[in-house]
């Protein structure tokens, strides 16, 4: 009986791992196939061809799209962390009237359906002459990365020991000194976690990238992949799409696996503790 239970448990685990990993595995396999082999649903590639990767990287602006995504996500993370860390210090460490209302407002913005701001954002983007530029994306992505960053960093700052801060205040240190000299060095792990999560959400964003850019060279990778098409309307270049998908996903999966623990703690700080 015990044996049976154990076997059933391992079968369940095997099923979980299989379902989680198989689609990505199959995308990799497909990306390595070429020609007619693509249309035979085999579980492993008979031949090993990098032609799809060559196509994606040399024909069309995919490399440019990758750079765009990196620039946008990097800038979004930098700005969010910069604005987020001062806000988080104020929210976590200073008592003032309206603090809990503010926290609630920040949480609701992060849960806000982005479509509800789309029309107004479009107006702002056009008024600032940012349409079809990466700056439009950097600006609009703040709507989801900023509240998220503030929220998660606040939970991290709250956990820092009070004694250090009190000692610094007695020594005559102002809030800016406390934040930059004392808290910031302690906050590096939290900043890395939050930054990574913000980077991932900016890297994956689709709605604003689709709406605020119009030419192939200004697109980010999710939009580029979604709009990747073949020579004719009926010929979908699955090999190229899968190669592009693998290129975009491998760095993310690597980052996530390396920083597994950090990411889990960041996600739960954003979710459970709130």
């Amino acid at each position: 009986m015990k044996m049976l239970k154990r076997t059933a448990f391992y079968l369940l685990l095997l099923a979980i791992v299989f379902v989680a990993v198989f689609p990505f595995y199959y995308a990799i396999v497909t990306s390595l196939k070429s020609g007619t082999e693509l249309f035979q649903a085999g579980l492993w590639p008979q031949s090993f061809s990098l032609a799809n990767y060559r196509n994606v990287l040399t024909e069309g602006p995919f490399l440019r799209n990758l750079v765009n995504s990196l620039v946008v996500s990097g800038a979004v993370v930098a700005v969010s962390l910069l604005l987020g860390v001062t806000a988080a210090y104020a929210l976590a460490r200073i008592r003032f009237r309206g603090r809990s209302v503010l926290m609630l407002a920040i949480l609701s913005v992060s849960m806000f359906p982005q479509v509800a701001a789309l029309a107004g954002l479009f107006e702002i983007v056009r008024a600032l002459h940012l349409y079809n530029s990466l700056l439009a994306l950097i600006l609009s992505y703040m709507i989801f990365t900023l509240p998220f960053t503030v929220w998660v960093l606040t939970t991290f700052v709250r956990d820092l020991p009070v004694e250090i801060e009190e000692a610094a205040i007695l020594d005559g240190a102002g809030p800016w000194t406390i934040l930059t000299r004392i808290f910031l060095p302690l906050l590096w792990p939290a900043l890395a976690t939050t930054g990574l999560l913000a980077f991932i959400s900016a890297w994956n964003e689709f709605l604003f990238a689709l709406t605020f850019t119009s030419t192939n060279t200004q697109r980010t990778v999710p939009v580029a992949i979604a709009l990747l098409s073949g020579n004719s309307q009926f010929e979908i270049p699955w090999g190229n799409i899968m190669a592009a998908s693998v290129i975009v996903t491998v760095p993310l999966v690597a980052l996530v696996l390396i920083f597994q623990r950090r990411i889990v703690s960041g996600l739960t700080a954003g979710g459970v503790k709130g």
């Binding site: 849960m111 359906p113 029309a119 600006l139 979604a226």
Partner: protein, 315 residues
């Protein structure tokens, strides 16, 4: 907060000033990218603005939501979002999608979390594996699954045919009967890990002693789960559910890529964006965005109210 009745010290007052100074840049940016745009969206929903010329707009009151036209023949014609069957179809699609997907994700996430909470060799590998769907961009997972679900060459049809489970190949993402199923499969696959991780975190915060005591009292695992574990992690699960539900209610990218132009899966967000930027009905799209916000807001308030009521009643 005992200091509230006492006059605040100069230091405390200075710190409050600092707090607002530290918050100001963040609040300004959020105002520019969230607050103001949302107010403008609401404003546009009361105008007749078109994408080509946003400035040439006129106030039309509630016409985008509801209006009555009298035809020369004397017949009344109702118009506007509130009587638009396409819109209500989108609302129904979205709500149905959110309820089914979040329910499945909660159950599956619970199963995964309970498995990961047990001690077994190779636990780290399993946890790493379930993080993969979460790490894959939504667009990429939509494309991956679109390929696997392809009617002609997709591996899922091939496997099902070989197993004899289906007689002919199914056009999963294109056919009216299965398009929503396809969207649900991909969404559940992609977001169950998030649910599992949040539930797992709650499980790991449970005091071991309680479970030990229950075991000593002769409770079987099934009873322990329903009587001890579930009530204790319930608040965390409720929070995870609302996070996921709010995410599901605004679904856009997965449906846009996986089942484009499909009436069966068109969500509220797709409907709004389509009108804003593709049909040249900017004002109508703004009205849809506003209504979408109201519907999600009301559902959230209802969920929080109902959740808290039964939560307190259960204690």
């Amino acid at each position: 907060m005992s200091a509230a009745s006492v006059r605040p010290s100069p230091l405390a007052r200075r710190r409050v000033r600092t707090a607002w100074l530290f918050l100001a840049p963040m609040l300004f940016v959020l105002g520019v990218v969230a607050g103001w745009p949302f107010l403008r969206t609401v404003y546009y929903s009361f105008t007749d603005a078109s994408l080509a010329d946003l400035d040439a707009r006129q106030w039309v009151g509630f016409d985008n939501y509801f209006s009555v036209l009298t035809l020369p023949s004397g017949r009344l014609l109702y118009d506007g979002l509130l009587v638009d069957p396409v819109w209500w179809r989108a609302v129904w699609n979205t709500v149905r999608f959110a309820v089914i997907s979040v329910a499945c994700e909660t159950v599956l996430g619970m199963i995964v979390a309970l498995s990961l909470n047990a001690d077994f060799p190779g636990r780290g590998i399993v946890r790493a594996a379930i993080l993969i769907p979460w790490a894959i961009p939504t667009i990429v997972s939509a494309k991956m699954w679109q390929w696997m679900l392809n009617d002609q060459f997709g591996i899922i049809n091939v496997v099902l045919l070989n197993l004899g489970l289906i007689d002919s190949k199914i056009a999963w993402t294109a056919s009216a009967d299965t398009a929503m199923v396809a969207v649900l499969i991909v969404d559940i696959w992609k977001t169950t890990p998030f649910m599992a991780l949040l539930i797992l975190a709650a499980l790991q915060m449970l005091p071991r002693e309680i479970l030990e005591v229950a075991k000593l009292d002769g409770a079987n695992p099934w009873q322990i789960f329903w009587r001890v574990t579930l009530p204790l992690i319930r608040p965390a699960v409720m929070v995870a559910v609302i996070f996921r539900a709010l995410d599901a209610l605004r679904i856009f990218d997965l449906i846009y890529v996986l089942t484009p132009n499909n009436v069966q899966t068109k969500s509220m967000s797709i409907f709004a964006r389509e009108n804003l930027f593709e049909f040249d009905k900017f004002a109508y799209g703004s009205a849809a965005s506003t209504l979408l916000f109201l519907i999600i807001g009301l559902l959230t308030i209802a969920y929080i109210r109902l959740g808290r009521l039964s939560f307190e009643g259960g204690r």
